[in-house]
Symmetry: D2
Subunit: 297 residues, 4 copies
Amino acid sequence: MKRTDLALEARELWREKTSSALPPGAETETREEGGSTLEALAVTSEEAAAALGKGVGKYITIFPEALLRREEGAFEKAAALLGRELRALLGLAEGASVLVAGLGNEAITPDSLGPRTLRHVLATRHLVASLPETFGAFRRVAALATGVLGNTGMETAELVKAVTEKLRPDAVIAVDALAARRLGRVCRTVQLTDTGIAPGSGVGNARRELSRETLGMPVVGLGVPTVVDAATLAADLTELSGRGEAAPEDFGEYGAGMMVTPREIDQQISLMARLLGYGIDLALHDLSCADVTALVG
Amino acid sequence: MKRTDLALEARELWREKTSSALPPGAETETREEGGSTLEALAVTSEEAAAALGKGVGKYITIFPEALLRREEGAFEKAAALLGRELRALLGLAEGASVLVAGLGNEAITPDSLGPRTLRHVLATRHLVASLPETFGAFRRVAALATGVLGNTGMETAELVKAVTEKLRPDAVIAVDALAARRLGRVCRTVQLTDTGIAPGSGVGNARRELSRETLGMPVVGLGVPTVVDAATLAADLTELSGRGEAAPEDFGEYGAGMMVTPREIDQQISLMARLLGYGIDLALHDLSCADVTALVG
Amino acid sequence: MKRTDLALEARELWREKTSSALPPGAETETREEGGSTLEALAVTSEEAAAALGKGVGKYITIFPEALLRREEGAFEKAAALLGRELRALLGLAEGASVLVAGLGNEAITPDSLGPRTLRHVLATRHLVASLPETFGAFRRVAALATGVLGNTGMETAELVKAVTEKLRPDAVIAVDALAARRLGRVCRTVQLTDTGIAPGSGVGNARRELSRETLGMPVVGLGVPTVVDAATLAADLTELSGRGEAAPEDFGEYGAGMMVTPREIDQQISLMARLLGYGIDLALHDLSCADVTALVG
Amino acid sequence: MKRTDLALEARELWREKTSSALPPGAETETREEGGSTLEALAVTSEEAAAALGKGVGKYITIFPEALLRREEGAFEKAAALLGRELRALLGLAEGASVLVAGLGNEAITPDSLGPRTLRHVLATRHLVASLPETFGAFRRVAALATGVLGNTGMETAELVKAVTEKLRPDAVIAVDALAARRLGRVCRTVQLTDTGIAPGSGVGNARRELSRETLGMPVVGLGVPTVVDAATLAADLTELSGRGEAAPEDFGEYGAGMMVTPREIDQQISLMARLLGYGIDLALHDLSCADVTALVG
């Protein structure tokens, strides 16, 4: 199957293959809110999961259209929407604590979404106890830039598990760059899911996943597509140019270890990292965007 | 005289020495606006300039108090105030073009204010002609990170002059980190002046200045104190601890080439660079803060 | 014609099309030296230039094979070879001065070769006069990170011309990331040419060139392929997979603004930037690799 | 007592106070090797430890004089010396594994020594098993950039303990920026000690230590002084200027949260981070400097 981290594209591939909108056991719902379109996909059976190649759980895709059109106030609205959806997906009790894990390699621009998001995430765990008069109303949040296997010698999942076993947070938010099938989707959608994340699937080989099964607590995966897999691109281009059907595997050796990314990726990642960071802060604390700006710089 | 880049501190030193508020030929005015205090100093005679150690011209110091208290909406208000004051100081005709020069060394945290401000500055010079339907209403703005002599082999003033002779902008905005005398002022004020800037005076030896005299066009200097000179610090500490009068020169050899800076300087510089960048964009174009966020990420 | 910045690939495309090794007026020569292979191509007539799509001049391609095999002492040998070839191509008189221009966007990993090379380049112009006892034997070298049009509003060629008109160096070395046709060449060769460089051709649309014609002095272009053009990749993949002939233009719209790059590009760029920086220092001064390490950190 | 992280300065303070060279239970030895001077201090009794304000253990201070004089081959010799001393201090069995922890904040130049050292450290833990033919002879090494409390919400010691409990390495090397009392020592010495490290003592309040006691395995602290404490500086300057005795506490409030650092700190940190990284690689594997260059870029 063509590789994608996006539920949206998994659904699309199903439709192309079967001419039916969705397999039984999967449901979708779309709505507009504050200049963004939101598509929710619920995968409720193992059969549907197998058909779509996506685990049982909820997938929310936000298209921040007004923001991409640069409309007045669109950033605040998109961050607020993301914050609300993330908060609902986490379903945390009052006072519950969270670990935010930023996955990926800061030195590779399209893989830097995770660590760059952390720049905008308020780490409060150490402040809640030490400065209760100022931070007593904040949720305890820790933040971890996981780095990548090649630099650390540790699987991302292994490192995150080490930290959750020590800190025992009530939930994990894992932020990572994702791979899309279509170039036109790069840096144009945000995906949230309560099924967790498979680190490195965006720009490398999938490694061990971060999920409720592996970590023993709720794990929300939060990501933005930043690359297209080279082999997937080649397969799609072949079909688009009328040269018949093709599969990524046809080009596997040639495209292995390659990623395709827009030339202006740096500025796009900046904006998306800011959106995700603010969305996380708004989901976890009772703050406004202005508060976040003053607190994180 | 004790070294400072701040007009505010030059005035203070005068008062300490003479017990008079200001020398003849200098006037000051203070007002509050939108959560910030603004102090304007006008130096109108060469005598006043010599007495204060500051050239003839206008100096505006903004204390963004509400922002530092993290009040709701304070960033937008402080950026708007800075934008208005900068616009007034520049006094540009419609369609006039501008070069924004970011001075300093991005790799030295307290010297990185200039290049980090540029991350938030919209460069539009190439867009106004090529995309008139979108950018026709924008002013033509170019942006130059000058680097520092040790890395480039070029004096900052020499490089900026080379570029202004080629581009022939109508004005220059030069952004640089400044040196303060008091630690408590670091990252807590913004200074604008139509007298230009002496690059590197903040964290190195003063080199050739950027000013109307040297560049042949209006030059507004825009800066934030990010360091305290080590020798100045020592002199002040000596006096504060009741050990008698002292001058920076007493400690010159020992403190030469050293800078004193807060430990949490990175986050403070981030916020100040963002404030300056947005202030510049608002001064030069008809934009809101939300527009700037969408355009610069 | 399929797009490539590599003389090596231009020659290859000619051979594929014509089944002759080279057009009349072009000559090639290959030799091995210290663990590297070196291929020199001389284009001596306008006819040959038109046939190959490469200007009249010399093109030297170095394959640092021992370095890529991580052999003992290979870095020093490859840097020395590059230094000698660069020195020969520049043909500078004693005491002649040089501007090294690092092109590209430091924030986009595969486009960061130019600015990252500058980290290893000794800027000496300011030292030769001020510290003659230490630096009197050094050549005067200035270094300029040009940034990119989207961030500066200035064409790279325009900025470099402004600086050369001011500094009047005797030659320019322009370092930039290049585009290759084959993924297997990315970060595996170094190209030097006395024909200059077309900035941004590596990862963006070609803009005005840097050359003797435009700058009025010798310009050596120095680069390493770091990306493959998405449309070129698609065309090649199509042919490779037995789906018939294809041209990049067939995929132009789909792949426009996209680049293809290896996932482990960061470390490869680090090594290549170091190699280029040391090669430049060895070409311009009488230094050893150990000297360069001590001087540039 | 005046604050310093350097055993060398602790010894100096003892001598100033008592006019005796060392307290009973402490011994020192000095030797020259390959252009560096090495001073070993052994603290063998609790009494000596209390007198010096340094725990029982070994402290090795390397002065890489030939490197700082930029002598030919000095980097390789200094790295080899550091590698040998580190290897001896670790005393690892064949096949024993190591975690290298880089402490500090990469965004604050003088606090970036730890994470910048990691750029030169080979992480091999994941390779030894997966690529035994290439990496079978390598020691298993993992690398962790710990970040700082303000950004992560986690004490450094807490995070390192979480990781060591998971990975169970045989030893830890903790790299951190240190605080010196004298400006002239900044970036001019390397200190190794088998007593571990108190993270953040270099540029912030001391937090929980990393040591055999807290982690349950040998911990070697490796550092370079990069800052001077502002209050310590003021006290020293007062005495130097003949204004009588002074203690850092006299200036505590004024200098709190401030650090003093050289203006050219970036390049000095680059060289020291490279030296430390290579020293670590040479201590842990059978490699030459040339190997390390080829492997880490």
